[in-house]
């Protein structure tokens, strides 16, 4: 079947508000889900754990930021600080003997509480000034983390994460870590997919578009802003905790510095504001491409017999990462999600597209 809109007729509201309105989209999602479940058996564990696993956890985190920035329209430059709160709370709870399931939830709730503090800035200003305030809050949080030995052990210390265990099963295998990350990412994705078509999601979009107009429609913008910050912070907290528990195994303040906040925002914007599939692309691009480009650069220069400075190689990924942000914003300011959407829409009616004109 080429024409994928064939036989798709929405005759009632229920069918029109499905997550996947077109069977082809649903089939693609099922296909990706199957690949995701089978990944530990088809992908070598080196790639699985050093590329796919961080990609999934960062995607979950970036989706959380997309909730507050893409859906609710609030700029947030302190996201890494919120992740840090969740990570440290969960690890301290786990070290205290709390089971990991509850430790993760404690981390998420602690993040929610701190993240809501950021929302109080959003109640007062918006746009650029909100970005600057959250940036300042990020610096405050960095300072608190590096200056409180009780939480982090000090500026150059790191905190060992206890072995992750869920439902009484200690998780030590590569496949186990992968499934934990996959499961969390799947949960967040399903939540975000449903958010789009729920009253909450529509209220957030209304607040984003114009808060006066939202207020006239009876949407309490203060309430929804705080709700957006709290929800996204919960996702951030659990993602931060999982990142430490399943990927870094050590928590250090540098892992949640201001540069990381900017990186997550870059993932969201390069991916596309308010786009779920775009977020996955954005995370992949920002997280993986600089390293790949650097690898290619190193091997080609070695093959050509050029002497490349060690420092050049060390700073190359940063230059590539910055250039990627600039280039994507120049090509398509709405992000990779929009590019994907364009291709999808073209293919959706592909052989018959000439009839539309």
């Amino acid at each position: 079947m080429f024409y994928r809109l064939s036989g798709v007729h929405h005759a009632d509201y229920v069918s029109d508000s499905r997550i996947y309105k077109v069977p082809a989209d649903r089939n693609l999602a099922v296909f990706i889900l199957v690949i995701g479940l089978a990944a530990p058996f088809i992908i070598p564990s080196l790639y699985l754990n050093s590329y796919i696993l961080p990609w999934l956890i960062w995607s979950a985190a970036a989706l959380g930021l997309n909730l507050v920035t893409g859906w609710a329209g609030q700029l947030h430059l302190g996201y890494a600080a919120v992740m840090a709160v969740g990570a440290y709370s969960a690890i301290h709870a786990a070290r205290f003997g709390v089971p990991w399931e509850f430790a993760l939830i404690i981390g998420g709730l602690a993040s929610s509480v701190i993240g809501s503090l950021f929302a109080f800035a959003a109640l007062r200003v918006k746009g650029l000034y909100l970005a600057l305030t959250t940036l300042a809050m990020q610096f405050v949080m960095d300072w608190v983390l590096t200056h409180s030995p009780a939480i982090t052990g000090g500026s150059h210390a790191s905190l060992q994460s206890p072995t992750l265990a869920l439902l009484g099963q200690p998780i030590t295998s590569d496949a186990g870590y992968y499934y934990v990350a996959f499961g969390w990412c799947l949960m967040v994705t399903i939540f975000m997919l449903n958010l789009k078509r729920s009253a909450l999601g529509r209220a957030l979009v209304a607040v984003r578009e114009k808060d006066y107009a939202a207020a006239i429609l009876g949407v309490n913008s203060f309430y929804y802003k705080i709700l957006a910050f709290a929800t996204s912070s919960f996702i951030a907290g659990v993602s931060g905790a999982l990142l430490v528990a399943a990927f870094f195994f050590l928590a250090a303040p540098e892992q949640f510095s201001v540069a990381v906040s900017i990186q997550v925002l870059a993932m969201v914007i390069v991916g596309g504001l308010g786009s779920i599939i775009g977020t996955y692309f954005g995370v992949a691009l920002i997280l993986l491409v600089p390293g790949i480009v650097n690898g290619i650069f190193a091997t080609t220069s070695a093959n050509l017999g050029l002497q490349v400075d060690v420092e050049t190689l060390a700073h190359m990924p940063n230059a590539v990462y910055g250039a990627l942000i600039v280039i994507i914003l120049l090509i398509e300011p709405l992000g990779l999600g929009k590019l994907y959407g364009n291709i999808r829409d073209y293919l959706m009616i592909w052989p018959f597209d000439q009839f539309r004109k």
Partner: protein
């Protein structure tokens, strides 16, 4: 704590603050003309310092040739950045413009370090390191020079904004639609503001490079520069100078009292607190225009 020590802290704080103003003027110039928050100023400052060093060390020019030449190169680069990156995003939401300048900042920093390496070097301006004695008060010579440069730049911009081109820039800052309709080339004006900000970055880069060495720490001035710019009211150069002095004094004196209490490093905290309080209490700053979008 005696009065002389406090005065010394305040004076040195004010001088350091003027150096923050030097950095913040770059932000203000661009914000004034195009309402773009230029988060790439840190990267520009760092690049400028490296370009001066490259011309002085690697090419072997004397500093008095290298600095104007670097200023000329950065002037062109500023125009280029506006033409290539920012003009395409005109009219887009502020978050995309913010991200663009952040991306530029990351790119400039990465590219600079990839080309010239990250080891710290000094500019060697030839300003003595022995402090100046004013009665019982020690004053750092380089800070004094830097403060003088900041004041001089402020004076230069005061004159510049009375010239024909300067009046055009002011018109653009005031209302770019109206400027457009009376035949002012808004694009050229905005490009010029980027070019001027890049030239200011040369001054800031040289002075700060002399004080703390030319390395990637130069780009960390961004938070302080932003705080000064916001406190002064993002679109006022006079505001940037006065806010710089205020922030410098508050930071220097406050850190002296706070450091023993919290175990050092309270400068960042004070700066962040000033930024948060400014935005919460008076978002348009000391001298800014009042048309800031509030919730």
């Amino acid at each position: 704590m005696d009065l002389i020590f406090l005065t010394e802290l305040a004076i040195n704080g004010a001088l350091t603050g003027l150096l923050y103003s030097l950095f913040a003027i770059g932000l203000v110039l661009i914000y004034k003309a195009s309402s773009v928050p230029n988060l790439a100023q840190g990267g520009l400052t760092m690049l400028a310092a490296y370009v001066v060093l490259a011309l002085a060390r690697d090419v072997g020019m004397p500093l008095w040739v290298a600095i104007p030449l670097a200023a000329l190169l950065m002037f062109g680069l500023g125009f280029g950045i506006e033409r290539v990156a920012l003009r395409r995003l005109a009219g887009r939401p502020v978050i995309m413009i913010l991200m663009m300048t952040l991306g530029l900042d990351i790119f400039l920093r990465g590219a600079t370090l990839a080309i010239w390496g990250g080891t710290s070097r000094s500019v060697e301006l030839g300003v003595g390191y022995d402090p100046l004695l004013l009665g019982d008060i020690f004053i750092s010579r380089i800070h004094l020079v830097g403060a003088a440069v900041a004041i001089a730049l402020f004076g230069a911009f005061l004159v510049f904004f009375r010239s024909r081109t300067g009046i055009k820039l002011r018109a653009i800052a005031d209302d770019y639609m109206a400027s457009w309709s009376v035949g002012i080339s808004v694009e050229r004006g905005v490009g010029l503001s980027w070019a001027l900000a890049s030239v200011v970055a040369v001054a800031a880069g040289v002075i700060w490079g002399e004080i703390q060495g030319v390395d990637q720490a130069l780009s960390l001035l961004l938070l302080k520069g932003l705080t000064v710019a916001v406190l002064g009211g993002l679109d006022s150069i006079l505001g940037a100078i006065i806010a710089g002095i205020i922030l410098g004094i508050v930071e220097n004196v406050g850190a002296e009292f706070l450091d023993p209490l919290v175990g050092g490093g309270s400068r960042e905290l004070i700066v962040a607190a000033v930024l948060i309080l400014t935005v919460m209490i008076r978002p348009h700053g000391l001298f800014g225009r009042h048309d800031i979008e509030r919730v």
